[in-house]
Amino acid sequence: MSNLEPVTAPGAARLYEKRKPVHPQKVDGPFRRFKWLVMVVALSIYYGTPWIRWDRGPYAPDQAVLVDLANRRFYMFGIEIWPQEFYFVAGLLIMAGIGLFLVTSAVGRAWCGYSCPQTVWTDLFQHVDRLVDGDRNAQMRLERAPWGPKKIAHRAVKWSIYLAISFWTGGAWIMYFADAPTLTQEFWSGQAAPVAYATVAVLTATTFILGGFMREQVCIYMCPWPRIQGAMVDEKSLIVTYKHWRGEPRGSVKKAEKNPGAFGDCVDCNQCVAVCPTGYDIRKGPDIACITCALCIDVCDRVMREVGRPRGLIDYATLEDCEREQAGEPARPAWKALLHPRTIIYFSIWAAIGLGLLFALGVRSHTDISVAPDRNPPFMLMSDGSVRNAYTVKLRNMESRPRDMRVAIEGLPGAEMWTDEIARADAARVLTMPVPADATKPLRLYVIAPAGTASQDFAFTVTSLDEQAEMDTSETYFETPGGEQ
């Protein structure tokens, strides 16, 4: 006990650390340019997708990507998903998950560094900081400065821009759930659904808070992904590493000139910390705070070039390569790191699910019948001794045009049927019924079988009366007073 340091004693390291604001410095280089590209592409997709039109004829909406909750349809370009086909969406989500495993196993936390919404919006907001307040040093000066007209003006402008971006972000989200041009008009004329305003308000607030103020705190303290991704990265994954055997001990250019051979390549300029969006010092080693955005590589390469030393003191490398390099072996090309058993296994699973989904999409039918026999009463004895059963039948026409469908009784000799729309006098073994476009048509259907019929299984088949002639069958049961067959 006595050799323990009291953690709450004055001067001891505290368990809670107050946030130190991060003001990353502007940087340029290949990774920064890649990050710009990803941001532009990601934001364009997010803001632009709902506005893509897709002609589906007069019976379906013309929005290319639409989650139509009210009518329970999910439209994605040429594909229309019905609620009972939700496995397509589930399959896509599983593919997204495995894709994330694949990317993480191959190139580490690339999702965190480039395409995570929190990263993208934080990056955008940090760019706003630089536009309004200036670069890192100006930002820090303003941070320390007492409140005065200048600071108030800067803060007001900056937060207004935050708010505008946040509002635009929340506004884009609701466009995925309704016809975008109509909803925009309704939104501004005050006629949109309350849930639309509530959603925009909530997403504006969360974007404003998470992107504008919490930033790296989300990655380090709130998000579970760094923990999971940390567990999926292994010694074969490409991650951002500081080559300490090459950099240590650190010393400035001047010191190195005075004592040749005593210092490593790291000139301790702290630029890698200054540009880091989470304020982490990569020279301490891999950490949850490193989102592997590689901006430190960009800036370190520039410094190495300026002081005339080889690039790559901080670089994308696998831990295996690091050991090899430390032992004096020549560096391997980075692409080789992408091919190892784990990435190949993940890719195979990912591709298999993708092919499975494509296959299912190719063979799926747009005609469907489901049948539920009445339970109360299960059968009805008629005065001439014949027996009538009632069924609730649902005919689905999953195409965006009205179609005629032919429903037939398979089995059950002598039986005939009629519905709530087709009169008893027109009862037959085969009925033709129109089904509206993109709709489920519920029917109450009566089947009558002659006296002496035993209880038995039979089936209904439906055939679409168009060039496709799609078919579906539903097996059911005919109950009679005689009981079991």
Partner: protein
Amino acid sequence: MANKHIDEATGVETVGHEWDGIEELNNPLPRWWIWSFYATIVFAIGYCIAYPAWPLVDRATAGVLGWTSRGQLAKEMAVEDQRRAGTLAQLAILPIGKIQGNEQLMRAAVAGGRAAFKVNCVQCHGAGAAGSPGYPNLNDDDWLWGGDLNTIETTLLHGIRQPGDDETRNSIMPAFGDGFLTPQQIGALADHVLSLSGKAKDNPAGAKLFEENCAVCHGSDGKGLRQFGAPNLADAIWLYGGTREDVIRQITQPRMGVMPAWSGRLDPATIKMLAAYVHSLGGGEDFQEAVETEGQTKADPNEQP
């Protein structure tokens, strides 16, 4: 609590227990948590004053806002009644034949009738209207008094064998066991009745007895007469059972069911809705048939020759 124990490592007071050398620190709760807790207490006090809360012997405190769950229900019911008032008024006024011609009104009537049936009729006729021995099945195509909308409505309005209602459905079958017929004769009669629907070989003595005693109500062919409510004996459906024992029992000492007259208990709109629902169950007949049946029995002064 006399000897406070301060943890050596942290300088924080402990709760005073020790489990295998592990002690629990008595750190204070976070401030925000404490304040949230106080806020819930304040809220609870306000809530108790505003809303019914404290149970008394036979009721609860009323609450200054005057809100009750029953009151809210009544309010919502009133809104719903308001919404349905137009349809109900139309149903009450229109004759049932006009309702059948209006698809939307008919749909509303069937839906309303289904609900009313669950409250008033399932006790005898069953939840699926399939009846049970002695209580007619309303799904089939066999009707004692007729299965068109008008007739069903009349049956509903006036009931079956309701004393004090002049228009009630009244059919009486004599008890043939009270010295009218001997047990042997009744047995022969039962054989003939069963033969009408092919359930037994015919018995000539029974046929003769039937012609003498039963044909006046049930018809020579046993197919029944709706104007008397006499059941069809030549079909597959038996109200009181179709075995020989059942038939003998019914001839010897007939049972005859009753049904309440609903005219005084339910409003006209509800009765029409019930008629529409019963008619929709699968055995509903057209008016045309009803007119023909009536034409045979009643001399309609307006009928053209």
